[in-house]
């Protein structure tokens, strides 16, 4: 199966509260907090589109748009996701 490719990493700065959860748990260390305590993609090229950041963000502030569609087709096991 073809690897999903990141098209866009959208962060809603109005909603992000800078908790750092996405930054800490990103397996590829793609994200960081800026001077205003808002998340941003420091190394988007390293993103593997696992969407863990999007799934865990308490503020629904991140969206990963990949070449294989949005959250619906997240690569994962299990019944639903």
């Amino acid at each position: 199966m073809e690897e999903p490719k990141l098209k866009e990493l959208v962060i809603n700065r109005d909603w992000c509260k800078g908790c750092g959860i996405c930054v800490h748990f990103c397996p590829k260390k793609v994200l960081e907090l800026d001077d205003n305590e808002k998340a941003f993609a420091k190394r988007p090229e390293d993103c593997i589109c696992c969407k863990l950041c999007e799934f865990r963000c308490p503020d629904l502030a991140i969206e990963i748009i990949s070449s294989r569609g949005t959250a619906r087709r997240a690569p994962t096991k299990g019944l639903l996701l």
């Binding site: 959250a71 994962t76 639903l80």
Partner: protein, 279 residues
Amino acid sequence: MAIRDYIRERFFPHIWCPGCGHGMVLNGLLRAIEKIGLDKNEIVMVSGIGCSARIAGYVDFHTMHTIHGRALAFATGIKMSRPELKLIVPMGDGDALAIGGNHFIHAARRNMDMTAIVMNNRVYGMTGGQYSPLSGYGTMSTTSPYSNIDHAFDVVELSVAAGASFVGRTTTYHAKQMADILGQAIIHKGFSVVEIMSQCPTCFGRQNRLGSAIDMLEHFKENTTPIGSKAKQKNPDLIERGIFVQKKMPEYCSEYEKIIERAMVTVHHRDRRGHREYN
């Protein structure tokens, strides 16, 4: 539909603190609903009072933010009057099991088709950090400043004993498992309980020196394990995650349909014997 289509964006950003687990529950729940493909008009969310309960305002379903502890009772009336609707009832740990404990066990016993979600942060978040029936022995809170001597309920064991036909548990750290279990609970025909261990960094975290929201999530990762894992055998203190009960049992609204049939037959018989009864 993207999960954004399931929320009332006008009211965001939401009121929860940075890193609050309740937002993660909202996130997981929306993913589960999106995956199942439910129509927004067929879902009713009923919540009680607490930080957790504010979830109802943010989702674009038919929503009811009720009074402390009674969400399941309101939901019972809604479901019974319109059985085709999907009922989702998120509650705080205090909401569900202190003030609402009686409604909780009776709802489980009735087995009416609805999904109860216990957003368990082990504290009364909204009122500023008093101990809850899930805080547990030895925890600190504003009302147990010398440490708590109340023992905690085990939500899973309690639900099983009360007769829930679906019982699951997970944590906010396990985002994908959360969406998975919630989805199965929603599909399940009968009363389903999902306990989601959730972090309140502002009260429980601070008072018990558990660090930031991130540290608390790490804690969930390290102190839980899938049901029946080897790790559990080695370390019995680990908390099990997964689906504990998933069984077929007569559902209340379907059973009530039989009552209606029986009552109508009674009318018929009496009619033939000449004892008319009014409808």
